[in-house]
């Protein structure tokens, strides 16, 4: 790699490395991924930190996100103004949290934010209903949805206030057996090539 790249200054790269879970190589790769979304918008020189913001439509169409039912919510949580439009900083932030190196607590915190649709610092029943409907593509009947939500609140609500606080959420989620695998999105340039083969039927 060397010092050939002229996108960032050395200080910028170091700072990004300190603020994310990525190596400089990965940061550059992420930058190219970011730029590939809109080559006409994103300049190749970021040393002056230009204020470029990509709209949600582009971010949400990334292969890592496009099949994710929560993609809009993720983009909103990580974008600066909560509208899903992302700067490069937000973009790096997002993938840093989604990387497998990120610790549980950080992931749990952001997972909480993602599920907290109305931003009131609690996951209440309406948030849960939204989550269930997104996960099942509205396949469940309203009765089933409300049953599920009630069960979730019954299980995870330690303080009996009818909604999940961050503490409740963390208490519940760090015990999940496959939580480490959860909220992980591997970003690689090879990801795009490595699409799974199509099945002949269905």
């Amino acid at each position: 790699m060397g010092n050939k790249q002229t996108i960032f200054t050395q200080e910028q790269l170091d700072a990004y490395q300190d603020c994310t879970f990525f190596t400089r190589k990965e940061i550059l790769r992420l930058f190219y991924r970011y730029r590939d979304l809109a080559p006409q918008l994103v300049p190749l020189d970021y040393s002056a930190s230009p204020a470029v913001t990509l709209p949600y439509e582009l971010i949400g169409s990334m292969p890592e996100l496009k099949d994710n039912p929560f993609r809009q919510r993720i983009a909103e949580v990580f974008s600066e103004h909560g509208d899903g439009n992302m700067t490069l900083d937000d973009f790096l932030d997002m993938f840093s949290v989604l990387s497998e190196m990120a610790p549980r607590d950080l992931k749990a915190y952001y997972a909480f934010k993602i599920y907290d649709y109305n931003n009131d610092d609690y996951i209440c029943k309406s948030d849960l209903e939204k989550t269930v409907n997104k996960l099942t593509r509205n396949e469940l009947t309203p009765e089933e949805v409300s049953l599920v939500c009630e069960k979730v609140i019954y299980e995870a609500d330690v303080d009996n206030d009818g909604k999940l606080s961050l503490a409740d959420f963390q208490h519940m989620i760090v015990r999940a057996p496959d939580f480490l695998r959860y909220l992980v999105s591997l970003i690689t340039t090879t990801e795009q090539e490595k699409t799974l083969p199509q099945r002949t039927n269905i």
Binding site: N68, H81, L106, R137, D168, R175
Partner: protein
């Protein structure tokens, strides 16, 4: 609340500004070493006064460095851990009085600057939340010095306590300033930061000139501590849930700070080392990850299996994982048998045609190469190293003096030994794994809701499947939930289950009888000449047909039972296993009949052979006694039936036909059907895909059992047909690829995608069972049947295991034989077995006890959880009372405190804002010097407990407005679970 916290705010600010001042002086001090030397001259002047100060400062030093408490400093230096530091300290003592005198003037100058700095500090505060606590500490500490120089110990204690609290407690003002920060735009803020820094630099340079007196030891310690904190902040920056902008700016500030002061502290080298360490840690993590990746890449077919799993769920993948495991085991067996038996025989044994047992008999030679004969494993294949009969009973072969019969016997045993060991070990490991995950059933729905989506899914089709499987799993759980609540018509269900079991037992008996009948018939066929292809292969055909049609029948019957699919699968597995087992054992019994017949036949042939050889010898001897007689051609020697090879051939045939049937079933039942459904659907009267034929589901139970059953035959047959394992390895290899392809191309996921049980111990249990069952007949034949007289490595011996005795007698010293004979004594074996049984009993009892204890603990935890819930409820109800109490008390605080407030501002701020009532707090308050003055104002911890969350509740949620970003993660969870109750009470 706001009112009470106001003084804190200003206090903190003041503290911070003064602190900034000291920091700026630090550089001065350290760069100007000359001045320091000058100061040392003054040491003598202030000696008597400094003693006290020294001790105090020493405490501070410890405080700052390691917070070691408990050492008494009553006005004198009692203990000193670092003797070399003493000198430095002594040198620095003299600075204290200097500072004391100069403090007044300095404070004044500070006050002037304060206004200027106030704004800046506010902003500084937001970003340096972590340090803030300590900074405030320092500020208050300073004040305390002025007031209570004498009370060194208490002051220190206080300080350390405050520090602890300060760290956990982000202040009110921080939050306020944070809110402010949110309003500033990113761009503007960055600019501001820069400006700020410039300003700060200029201030420090100006103070350079004004504060000529250098900093003290105490300040140095603080600085050190601060630098450490900053470093920690830098290294944990990525763990902070902040926006990148904020992270970047905070990082830059922290880095600047560290860079500026680390050099001052002579820690430049340390920084390098630190950086190096960090780099190495990073590299190590990366290496570990790469290594993990490499490891997963090395696992064969991992990607293939993952692919299948992503489409068909873990239950189908579990079959392939099992297949892979089986392949591994077979590969080892293959290595054992080929490396130690077949290859030595081929390389060093007598060549083909040298012995009667290694030659095709004259009568068969004409057709020995025909495909139809070879296909039946007769002809040349029968007389090859693949079968038992080919091996010679020569004790040693080749120049290595390789003891082949011995090796043959030992390998035959170790095949079983190794298999048993592997199966049991993996079972134990699985059991361990399955017991490690504790409270599984507490959060079924929560986990399903929050962790079921796999964020790695990057393929629309997989995503579709995932949606479907999540939906079904939700539905399943809902059904379970509803079922556990109501139980309707249990009698009907019970009746249906009994009926299903009766039907299945009938099926099993019928199939068992059918096989027995067919085997009997085949024995009569084998005696007849000119039997057709069907007659010869009747047994295999019937067994394959049974294997093909019974499982679907069972499945249809099992539909009556209405089990959960996971339990249903186990039942299905058990039933098909019984079917296969019955088949297998019927087959074995028939085979035993065959063997017994062969043994009887052998006696006759033995005589004939003997006489033939003798006669040939005699006749040749009679012709001319000088020349050795030309040996009788090995092809002409009459030979016995060699029952071992017959058995081996039976197993090989069965295996091969099983492979063929499996593959053809897959091709026809899955692939052709899928093609038919797919392409004929265009011109058909009804929808084939949704309607009758549809696509096939992957038959987990059938495939698993096919594998297990097949493995049983390998174990049984491998002693008599060493080449069987090679065939099996090939089979597993091809079936891995073939079945993966078939699944992906022509199967659909199950209608109810269910999660496989974590440990596939059920499969393992089946394997263990079949291993044990297949061990029995082999052990029986080895122990109680005489080997054939003219074929195989044990020919000429009474029993096969005689080879061991022979080796011991001939190749080992005498005492070994003696020991062996003692060990083999039943008097020793029976107690050993008894001991083993007792051990098993004991261990079983112990494990039961543990299990019970485990269950008990689980129950206790559950109860505790419930209790906690109840407690919270109660607290929520009692909270208003506390609130009233607090309302009563606050006015008194206000009325009483003002006179004291001026000097106690800081301490109060510390106490008032700390959110968590620390256990040792009450004592501390009582023991603190200001306790007398503040006793009334200072309410018991419960009040503090109540007040803090309320401030939060008052300011936090604004519905409809996006929640402030950059709000730190720390305080919220750290506040304890009681927090969410309070807002409700406060409103």
């Amino acid at each position: 609340m706001l009112q009470t916290s106001n003084p804190d705010f200003t206090g903190a600010e003041e503290g911070y500004s003064s602190c900034g001042q000291c920091l700026s002086t630090t550089t001065v001090h350290h760069t100007d070493t000359k001045e320091k030397e000058q100061n040392t001259d003054k040491l003598t002047l202030v000696q008597d006064g400094s003693k006290h100060v020294l001790s105090l400062r020493h405490g501070v030093d410890e405080d700052g460095n390691e917070l070691a408490a408990g050492i008494e400093f009553d006005g004198e230096v009692e203990t000193d851990t670092e003797s070399e530091e003493d000198e430095v300290k002594d040198k620095k003592t003299n600075k204290q009085p200097l500072r004391e005198t100069g403090r007044a003037s300095r404070l004044q100058s500070k006050k002037q600057e304060k206004d200027k700095e106030e704004k800046e500090d506010k902003e500084e505060d937001e970003s340096k939340e972590e340090d803030n606590g300590s900074q405030q500490n320092r500020a208050s500490r300073r004040k305390n010095y002025q007031r209570r120089n004498g009370d060194g110990k208490k002051a220190r204690e206080e300080r350390s306590q405050k520090k602890g609290r300060g760290k956990t407690a982000p202040n009110k003002d921080q939050k306020e300033s944070e809110n402010k920060e949110k309003k500033t735009t990113k761009r503007g803020k960055e600019g501001e930061n820069k400006q700020k820094k410039d300003r700060k630099n200029s201030i420090s340079s100006s103070s350079n000139s004004s504060d000529e007196e250098s900093l003290s030891e105490e300040e140095l310690a603080m600085l050190k501590e601060q630098v450490e904190q900053k470093k920690k902040l830098i290294s944990t920056m990525r763990n902070k849930p902040w926006r990148m902008v904020k992270k970047l700016s905070v990082l830059r500030e922290a880095q600047d700070f560290v860079e500026k002061f680390e050099g001052a502290l002579g820690k430049g080298k340390g920084k390098k080392l630190y950086a190096y360490k960090m780099m190495m840690a990073k590299k190590w993590v990366k290496f570990k990850r790469d290594f993990e990746n490499f490891k997963t890449q090395c696992i064969p077919w991992e990607m293939k299996i993952k692919e299948v799993e992503s489409h068909f769920g873990s239950s189908v993948a579990s079959y392939f994982i099992f297949l892979r495991w089986m392949y591994g085991v077979n590969l080892v067996l293959f290595g054992l048998i080929f490396g130690l038996v077949i290859i030595p025989e081929v390389l060093m044994g007598m060549p083909y045609g040298s012995l009667p047992r290694k030659t095709v008999p004259r009568a068969e030679q004409a057709t020995a190469m025909d495909f139809s004969v070879l296909w039946d494993f007769e002809g040349y294949i029968k007389y090859s190293a693949l079968f038992y009969g080919y091996y010679n009973n020569q004790r040693t072969i080749g120049w290595l003096k390789y003891r082949l019969p011995m090796a043959y016997f030992m390998v035959g045993i170790s095949v079983f030994g190794y298999s048993l060991m592997v199966v049991i070990r993996s079972m134990a490991r699985n059991a361990n794994e399955s017991t490690t995950d504790g409270d599984d059933d507490n959060f079924i729905f929560s986990w399903k809701m929050f962790t079921s989506w796999d964020y790695l899914i990057g393929n629309p089709e997989t995503a579709d499947n995932k949606f479907a499987s999540i939906t079904t799993s939700f539905k399943e759980s809902i059904v379970d939930e509803q079922e556990s609540n109501k139980d309707e018509n249990i009698h009907l269900r019970r009746f249906l289950r009994v009926l299903a079991n009766v039907l299945i037992i009938c099926c099993l008996c019928g199939s068992g009888y059918l096989i027995y009948f067919v085997v009997k018939r085949s024995q009569t066929f084998s005696k007849m000449q000119n039997v057709g292809w069907y007659e010869r292969n009747e047994v295999e055909i019937v067994m394959s047909l049974l294997g093909m049609f019974c499982p679907p029948l069972f499945e249809t019957i099992a539909a009556l039972e209405n089990y959960h699919p996971r339990i249903g699968l186990k039942w299905q597995l058990g039933r098909i296993f019984a079917l296969f087992l019955g088949n297998l054992y019927t087959f074995l019994l028939a085979l035993m009949d065959d063997v017994n017949e062969k043994l009887a036949e052998e006696d006759v042939v033995k005589n004939i052979t003997h006489w033939t050889l003798l006669g040939h010898h005699n006749s040749s001897a009679g012709n001319d006694s000088t020349v050795t007689p030309p040996p009788l051609d090995p092809a002409d020697v009459p030979r016995g039936p060699c029952w071992e090879t017959t058995v081996g051939i039976e197993f090989v045939r069965l295996t091969v036909s099983d492979i063929l049937v499996t593959y053809i079933t897959i091709l026809v039942g899955d692939f052709i059907r899928a093609c038919f459904v797919r392409f004929v659907n265009y011109c058909w009267c009804w929808d084939l895909e949704a309607g009758f034929p549809s696509y096939a589901e992957f038959d987990i139970s059938g495939n698993v059992l096919g594998l297990v059953f097949n493995q049983g035959m390998i174990w049984m047959g491998s002693f008599y047909a060493p080449g069987l394992v090679g065939i099996n390895v090939l089979r597993l290899l091809t079936s891995m690829y073939f079945q993966c392809w078939a699944v992906m191309s022509s199967n659909v996921p199950h209608a109810r995608v269910f999660k496989a049980s974590k440990s596939n111990n059920f499969y393992m249990g089946l394997v263990l069972l079949i291993l044990f069952l297949s061990l029995l007949p082999v052990a029986y034949t080895i122990m109680s049947l005489p080997p054939s007289f003219d074929c195989g490595p044990f020919s000429g011996k009474k029993r096969m295991y005689d080879v061991i005795q022979e080796t011991i007698e001939l190749d080992f010293p005498l005492f070994v034989a003696k020991i062996f004979s003692y060990v083999a004594n039943p008097g020793l074996i029976i107690p050993a077995i008894l001991l083993m049984v007792l051990t098993i009993y004991y261990l079983n009892a112990v494990s039961k006890a543990y299990q019970r204890a485990n269950a008990e603990l689980k129950k206790k935890m559950q109860m505790q959880r419930e209790e906690e819930k109840n407690k919270r409820n109660n607290k929520a109800s009692t909270n208003p009372m506390l609130q009233d109490l607090e309302d009563l008390l606050t006015p008194s605080t206000k009325t009483e405190s003002p006179p004291k407030q001026a000097e106690d501002k800081k301490t109060e701020s510390q106490n008032g804002t700390s959110p968590v009532g620390k256990p040792g707090r009450g004592e501390f308050l009582a023991g603190s010097p200001m306790a007398g003055g503040r006793g009334a104002a200072f309410t018991p911890p419960s009040q503090v407990f109540v007040t803090q969350p309320r401030t939060l509740g008052a300011r936090a949620p604004h519905p409809g407005q996006p929640r402030p970003w950059g709000h730190p993660l720390g305080p919220v969870p750290g506040r304890g679970r009681g927090q969410p109750c309070y807002p409700r009470a406060a409103r």
